[in-house]
Symmetry: C2
Subunit: 216 residues, 2 copies
């Protein structure tokens, strides 16, 4: 019975990791849909978000069930509480990936991003996807070093976003208001995905070390 309980605890982490990989796929496909004005892929990412919410509810139900039946304390309770927060992070990351696809859909059949700005958006998408995968690795390996490295990847994201603002605020910006607003919101979505990845890594650090890293 005790072993089954621990298997169930492990299973929750396995499912969180699996959700993380789904989010990573959603981020990659959304960025691709945005850059290639691919409506079909955009629609698929938006539809897949509902599936992620269902997975999240499933994990929440399992956590609730373990809390109710096993009366966990100390580390096990801490793990379950962290799992609830991570599920919330993952559901939100899925929403944000879908928001990227919604901008692709809104501008279709035109591409939302002018050719000369594609690399700026592609870089943000790539860093966000990498961070989500790193968060998945951290859940899988409980590697505190890797969790801390995620925060330095987040610095890359911050630089990309500053760079993006500099481009838009330049008096010679030729792309008009609509593109600027789309890019500002896309930047915000990718930045938030990155923030949630960092937040997940910080929860793993707390689970492993018992100490919460200083706020970013």
């Amino acid at each position: 019975m005790r072993e089954t309980y621990h298997e169930q605890l492990d299973q929750i982490l396995v499912e969180l990791e699996r959700m993380t990989r789904s989010v990573s796929t959603a981020v990659r496909r959304s960025t691709s849909a945005l850059l290639t004005a691919d409506l079909g892929t955009a629609e698929e990412v938006i539809a897949a978000d509902a599936q992620l919410d269902i997975s999240g509810e499933g994990v929440e139900a399992k956590v609730f069930d373990l809390m109710a039946r096993q009366a966990p304390v100390a580390n096990e309770l801490r793990m379950l509480v962290a799992a609830l927060r991570m599920v919330a992070d993952l559901e939100r990351m899925g929403d944000l990936a879908a928001h990227v696809s919604k901008i692709a859909r809104l501008r279709y059949p035109a591409p939302a991003i002018p050719a000369e700005l594609q690399s700026v958006v592609a870089d943000m998408g790539r860093v966000a996807e990498r961070m989500v995968n790193q968060a998945g690795d951290v859940i899988q390996t409980r590697d505190v070093g890797a969790a801390y490295r995620l925060e330095s990847t987040d610095d890359e994201m911050d630089k990309l976003r500053s760079n993006q603002f500099r481009l838009m605020m330049d008096d010679s910006w030729p792309h008009g208001v609509e593109v600027a607003v789309d890019i500002a919101l896309l930047g915000r979505y990718y930045e938030r995905i990155a923030d949630h990845a960092v937040s997940m890594a910080r929860r793993v650090i707390f689970l492993v070390t018992g100490e919460l890293p200083a706020p970013q």
Copy 2:
């Protein structure tokens, strides 16, 4: 002992409601700082956000402690799990209110919002503040009807945001890219504050009725 336990459960709701009022104040003061280019108030809202995070950690610690010592099941466990999610909502709403103040600070001493757009932003600020207060009322009264009414206030927010986009995307928009980007991000912040208020109300509906309302 049993009574003390229930007093502690009630106390958690009291603290959540108190945090909600602090967020409401932060939203109101941030909007005011933004519209009057008031750097002092902006700085105070930004500084006060740290206090809100400390309150949130305090509530989380109490929830954790009750879970560990009382082994709650059924409704009491559900309430504690909901409290964890609401704390996360409130911390995030506080961050978003601070983001509004950060835009005021970034543009200071210039006002971030041109005179003819002030009413658009003021309306969003007012609706967001009202929704946060309604969420506080819902926590205090457990009034399911009021919780449902919050969703219709959210429709007002959606209309304000669509209206804002229409203004910006008009070819005759005279305010340039910087103002458009600021307003798009501000709109996003207020909309997210509103979303979190709705999310809190939905959790109360679930606690009272045992059923989760259909997704928005």
